[in-house]
Structure formats: C-alpha cells, structure tokens
Symmetry: C3
Subunit: 342 residues, 3 copies
Amino acid sequence: MRPFTLQEAASAAGARLSGDADLVLKSVAPLADAGPDDLSFVSGARYRAAARDSRAGALIVGDAADAGGKPALIASNPSVALARLLDYLEPARKAAPGVSSRAVVSPTARLGTEVAIGPGAVIGERAEIGDRAVIGVNAYVGPDAQIGRDTILFTGAVVEWGCRVGERCRIFPGAVIGSDGFGYVWDGERHLRIPQIGVAVLEDDVDVGANACVDRAALSETRVGRGTKIDNLVQVGHNARIGEHSILCGQAGLAGSVRVGRRVTIAGQVGIGDRMTVGDGATCTAQAGVMSNVEPGQVVSGMPAEPHREFLKREAAADRLPEALSRLAELERKFTAKFEAL
Amino acid sequence: MRPFTLQEAASAAGARLSGDADLVLKSVAPLADAGPDDLSFVSGARYRAAARDSRAGALIVGDAADAGGKPALIASNPSVALARLLDYLEPARKAAPGVSSRAVVSPTARLGTEVAIGPGAVIGERAEIGDRAVIGVNAYVGPDAQIGRDTILFTGAVVEWGCRVGERCRIFPGAVIGSDGFGYVWDGERHLRIPQIGVAVLEDDVDVGANACVDRAALSETRVGRGTKIDNLVQVGHNARIGEHSILCGQAGLAGSVRVGRRVTIAGQVGIGDRMTVGDGATCTAQAGVMSNVEPGQVVSGMPAEPHREFLKREAAADRLPEALSRLAELERKFTAKFEAL
Amino acid sequence: MRPFTLQEAASAAGARLSGDADLVLKSVAPLADAGPDDLSFVSGARYRAAARDSRAGALIVGDAADAGGKPALIASNPSVALARLLDYLEPARKAAPGVSSRAVVSPTARLGTEVAIGPGAVIGERAEIGDRAVIGVNAYVGPDAQIGRDTILFTGAVVEWGCRVGERCRIFPGAVIGSDGFGYVWDGERHLRIPQIGVAVLEDDVDVGANACVDRAALSETRVGRGTKIDNLVQVGHNARIGEHSILCGQAGLAGSVRVGRRVTIAGQVGIGDRMTVGDGATCTAQAGVMSNVEPGQVVSGMPAEPHREFLKREAAADRLPEALSRLAELERKFTAKFEAL
C-alpha cells in the first residue's frame, strides 16, 4: 500500500475530515495493532476506550467524541467508509488482459474485450466470457457456460457446462458451480443416477467462497439471487432458489429444492432440509437445523430449529431441570411423609 | 436436448404409453415450470392437484389417475422411469477419446483403449487407466494409482498414489481421494506425524461429490463399497470402511476407523465419531452426532444420537418443560400453604 | 515397502528388541489384518487379547506382557515408535528437484535450492520458494507469497498473494490459504465488500488438510501457530489467531477474529462463533457450538457449548424428564385428591 494523506482518505471514504488534512499515513490497521503511521477505525461506542488507548495516527469514527482528540474521518457508517477507503487503497491485483499461451480456449468460445485468461485455464466450446472478466490460473469454464462482465474466477474455480454466472461475481479458489445434483432413485438393486440436465445460475454481484459448491438442477435451474454472498465450504443443493442480497456463512448447507428469500442471513454450519422455505429477512443462527419452514423476518435457532425466543426459553428451562428434579423428589418425599402422617 | 415423441420417451423410460404416441415434446421440466412442449412427472399422490393444474404437455405418472386426462407415461416407479428417460435424452457430454497435448502422462503409465485425458491432467508413474475412462481437465492420478473402466474424473479431481478407483465411478470436481489420514501422536513436544502408508479404495459404481475427501488409511485401506454415493464436501476419515449401496449426504463427516454397513443412509451434516459402527440399513438423520454404535436398521437422531423414537420423546418432553416447571412451583406453593394450614 | 529385519525396525523405532533380531518382516499392518510377515502394534492393554489372537509375526508393544510371547519391539509409547518406524519405511515419494517445463514461474520469483515445481504449477511475481520445497501439480503460489523450506504444496493447493507459509508445512490437495475473508457491510442497498488487504500466515510445521480453507485477514493477519495441524474441510475465518500445537479436526469451522490458544483440541464439526476465545489446552468436543469464551484447560460440549460436566448433567436430566413429567402429574393428582379429601 502506498502512503496517503488524511484529506485523500476522507475523499475516498466519503467522510468528513477533522484534523490535519496533510497528515501522511502509511497503512490501515486494527486498533490493537495500529501505530502512529496507521489509520484505524472505531466501529461503535464500546470501542471508545480502546480508541483512546490506541497508538493509531488517525481514526475513522461515527462520532467525533470517539476519536479522543486524534485526527479523524467522521462518517455516519464507519464500516462503509472503511470499505470505500480500502477499495481505493487496495493494490491493483487484477490480472492484465490477455490469453495465456498455457490456456486452452475452444475456437468456438466467444471472448469479450480485455478478458484475462490465466495459464492452465480451459474454456469449453461455445462458452461466452464477458468483457474484462478474469479466468484465473487452472480455472475451468465448461461448454456453453456464460461468464458475465467483470467477473473473476479465481485459481481452480469451476463453472460446469451450460451454467451462467452474472456480472461482477467473484468465484473464489476451488469453488464448483454446476456439478451434478445429488439425485438418485433406488431401482430395487442399486441407486440409479437421475441425470442432472438443469443448470446453475448466479445473478450479478454474487460471491462464492473457496471450495464452496452450488449444484446444477435436475431439470430446470438452481439460482442464486443478485448480490447474495456465499462463504467458503458452503453447499447449495440442486434446484435451490436463493433470493437477492442474502448471506450464507461458512459451511452452511442447503439440501435440494430449498427456497431462501431476500436478505436472509444463514449463519455458519446451518443445515436446511429438503424443500424447506426460509422467508425474506429471516435469520437462521449458527448450527441451526431447519426442518420446517421459516417465516419472513423470523429468527430461528437450535436443532430442530425453532423461533429463537422459544429456543432461549427451552435452554433456560433445561438449565433449571437438574434442580427441578431434586425439588420434585423432595416434594414427593414430603407429600408421602405428610400423607402418611395424616 | 433434441425433441422427442411420447412413443420414444415411453420406450426409453420403460413405461406404458397412454395418449398420442406421436406427440412431440421438447424438454423435461418440473411441474411448476412445465409448458405444453414439456414432459413433466408426478412423484406421488400428493402432487395430483399440481399435476392437474400444470401446463405440461404430458406426464410420467405411477397411476393413470394422476395424469388428469393428459397424455402420460405410466410406470410403477415414475422416478426410475424419469431417470431412464433423462439418461436417454441427456446430451452426450463425454469427452472424445484422446490424450491432450497439454496433459502429462508418465511413460510408465498404462492407458486402456479409448481413454480421454484432458488438458492439464497429470498421470503418474505406473498408474493404470481403464478403457474408456475420462481423466478431466487438470485432474491428477498419482503414481501406482488405478482408475477403472468407464470411470470419470471431473475437473481437478485428485486420486493419490497407490489408490484404486473401480469401474463406472464418477469423481466430481475438486474431490480428493487418498490424501493423508489425519494421524498424529504427541511425542511430548509436538504432534508427530504418523505416515499414512495405506490406500483408499473405491469399489465399482461409487460417486464422490465435488470437493469431498476420502482419506487414505494409516496402514491398510479406507474402503467405499460398490454402488455407494457420496455427496459434496463429505469427509471420510482414514481406515473407514463403508458398505455397498450406502448414501452419504452433503457435508457429512466420518472420523477415523468408522464402520458403515450396506444400504445405510447418512443425512446431511451428520458426524460419526472415531471407531463407531453403523449397521446395515441404518439411518442417521440430519446433523446427528453419532457417539455410540448404531444397530442395523436403526434410525438415530440428535447429538448425541439416540434412537429416533427416543429423540422425539425427549423433544416432546422438552417442549413441555417450561410449563412443567411452573406447575412444580405451583404445587410446592400449594403444598406449603396446605402443610402450614394443617 | 521393502522387507526389513526386526533389528532394523527396533533401531528406526527407537525401541527395545525382544526376540529374533534377524526376523524378516514385509510390512506393517493393523492387528486384525496382520499375517506372519507383518509387524503390528498394540496401543494399550485393552488390545492385549487381540494381540494374542493376532497372526502378526511381531508386535510393537508398551509392555512385554502385551506381546503374548511373540517377537516384539518394546517402547514406552508404541504409537511414537510406530510413527518413527513408518517414517523410516515409507517409500520416498518426494518429487525430484527441478522445475517442470509445464510450470509457469515468474522471472521475478526467487527459488531456493533443490526446489521441485510440478506441471501446471504457477508461481507469481516476487514469490519466494524455500530450499527443497515442493510445489505440486497444478498448485498455485500468488505474487509476493512465501513458501518455507521443506514445505510441500500438494496437487492444486493454493497460497494467495502475500501469504506466508513456514518451514516443513504440508498443504494438502485443494487447500486454499489466503482467499478473501468474508467481510461485507450493508450500505443500505447491498452488501458492500470490505477489501481484505491482510494476509494469512502459517508458522513452521503446520499441516492443512485437503480442501480446507484459511482466509486472509481484513487488515493485519490470520495466523496459525507452529506445529498446529488442521484436518480436511476445516474453515478458518479471517483475522483468526491459532496458537502452537493445536489440533483442528475435520469440518470444524472458526468464524472471524476467533482466538484459539496453544495445545487446544477442536474436534470434528465444531463451530466457534465470531470473536470467541478458546484458552490454552482447552478441548471442544465434536459438533460443539462455541458461543462464549472457553477457559484454559476447559472441556466444552453441546450447542451452545457448556462445560462438559454440565453438558453430561443436563443430558442425564433430560433423559429423566419424560418420567419426571409423569411423576409430577401423579403428584398433582394425589395432592388434589388429598386436598379435596381434607
């Protein structure tokens, strides 16, 4: 990262400047690690004390009071300001346009302008690669697949035949889009494969984490809505439909034909059973096992998942159970004693 | 997919035809999406209403009554009929035989007839590749490994040294067969590696999903039985032995030396502890944590896993607990009042 | 494996010999599989009977009494002795030094002596590869990344730009070090990406299993301490810090900014929530969901995780609950009857 002035940072971050505009900073660092040459940030009042104690040269804050007298960038949402600043400062890592002599591109594939295709990448027949897309080292785009403009396939990412990836998507290393859904039927002697002739479709601005999998549909399509972000090692089963701007955290798993709405949060290691529906704006907390439909806006927890309030109530009751069992025994004893005494 | 007549579909599906044999259809689609040019299917009586309302041009059904007067293919098992039909209709995607000039094949490897080896694939010393096998783009077959006839390694799949994959297996993108088992012993200062000199063996007709892992054994072999199907992101630990025709769903994990019988169903995100045994025909429901042996035919749920009936009983009791605690307190109160009144 | 004498095995294993030093053995096998030409081992008194019944030609034992009269290697820790012996016997599989003509190495990369770089591997600009390191088939080392001496990247392993891997590490097939952390902030319209400009650092002697992921930090670094071993399909989120000599078993997941101490054991499918701390020497048992900090030395279980003793107590109480509910109802009935009788 190259050095930058506080003024420059304020402009990039869309923040109001407080203090020396010409102050030169060298990096951005977390509060605990920041030194006098670093810009850091305070993401809420609970970090005020840490901000005061920090050695950071300047701070991004939501409230001038959080800066403890240091030079500051003041923004209504410090995290958004940080994101914008980092986007400005991030070293340009995008591959230079061009097709590596070590790539294999079908003569029937269609490449947009300024496409970058890395060594070892393979582009299948009739595949289409949008303008400025990057197909990374050893990545694979199957026959008839489509990759949208400005999308990046990182090292070893796979998009299988006929699948479609939108614009500005990022498919991280080892992610697999459009592998066969897990579809078999027992024919009396063996699990007969049900050919998976559908596709997987990622709309625009979708991210898919490292080694995550989005399976192709049996017949029609598996679909991930615009702006949805999928973390590492997540499994999205065949025929699933995920709405826009949802979040699927690490190692979550969606079985077949699941419906997930818009702006849903699915926390880490959550499992959602076959054909379940999760409504818009719902949240499934970590490790939840969703075995029934989740209403819009609902927060569910536990296995089997239930409304979070019920989960807490049940947990609290369970905590009291050992003592309650003693009390029950005591009451039985007393009752018997009393009963016999009468 | 090319157009097909109902007669043609009936023959391929092994189904009885009802209606116009010459009806031309263009695709196969789920009930909700199907239009007049599509064949769809009804997998049970509960879909009868949907079938009646569907715009599908024809239906695969188990019972003529389910077709609601539409042209139909009638089969005792509609899912099997569908699987057969799709197998017939599926576009031929199999790679043409031949060794890519971008592949690296050891001169000591032995290739069968009509083998296809994709760009970037690497075949190690003394490896054997059976007739008509496909080694996909950037896939890897280690030294002394064996790949059976008609088996497909998809993009980036890995079969490590000395491991054996049977006939007609499908190893999906990024799956890793025969990486080192997780074996260490604490020597007082550090976790000393226990070299894993055994192998992993997949019998015939085994599928291994995208980014799934089947580790090699410490000493002898990890074995997956004939016809067993493994979903994406599943972990099979070293020395595990899995019987024939079992099913391991997405993100399930088997620790070391687990024994799984024949025709077992292991649902999504199930974990099975070290050295546990799961008997023939047993079922572990989603997210179960198996900490003790599972009897043949048993259905287990929960963490720690217990017989499903017990799990349900315990869940039902837990639901009643908060109210029971109130009743207990009330009874104590009444008893005290009464006791003191006496 | 080549044949070896019992004397040779004793020297390699650092064990005391009992029996015919010239006895020739051909392999090492588990007790159940071992034949007269095999050396096997007894890892504890509970395997004594199995040892007596075994057909093994010789045994590694902790106590001469466990050998049942067979030729034996006696070691205070038979597992350590076994590890040493296997290390001695393991066929040399290490790739021969040299850079494959099918690899792509940046002219600005720096390679140590006796480095092996396989076909399809790509080494980015200014990357540094230590002496005797092996960069496997189709593996990737990003720009400015560093790979320590004697470290092995297996097939398709990925180390992203600027990340550092120590000495004697093993990064198994498909593992991804330094992919972007899962960092977004909602800006009112969409999940805005927070650029992840930090790195991932693996200290010396770290193993990372097949298809496991260690994400790069948002700002500073994700760090895995010396000697820590990570199993297949594990997820380590951005900014996590893991101490020395810890163990993370298959499919465990650490969310962002987690702190894990030294010599911690994290069992299979455990999930650890954002910003949680797990103290030195603690153990999280299988499938635990850690939602609060874990004290040093503590053993926690369940979801939400609690001290193991509490977990067992709660489980035992839950087992008694259905019967307790009956007793409560009975007591209510008796009380009412008595009350009314009075």
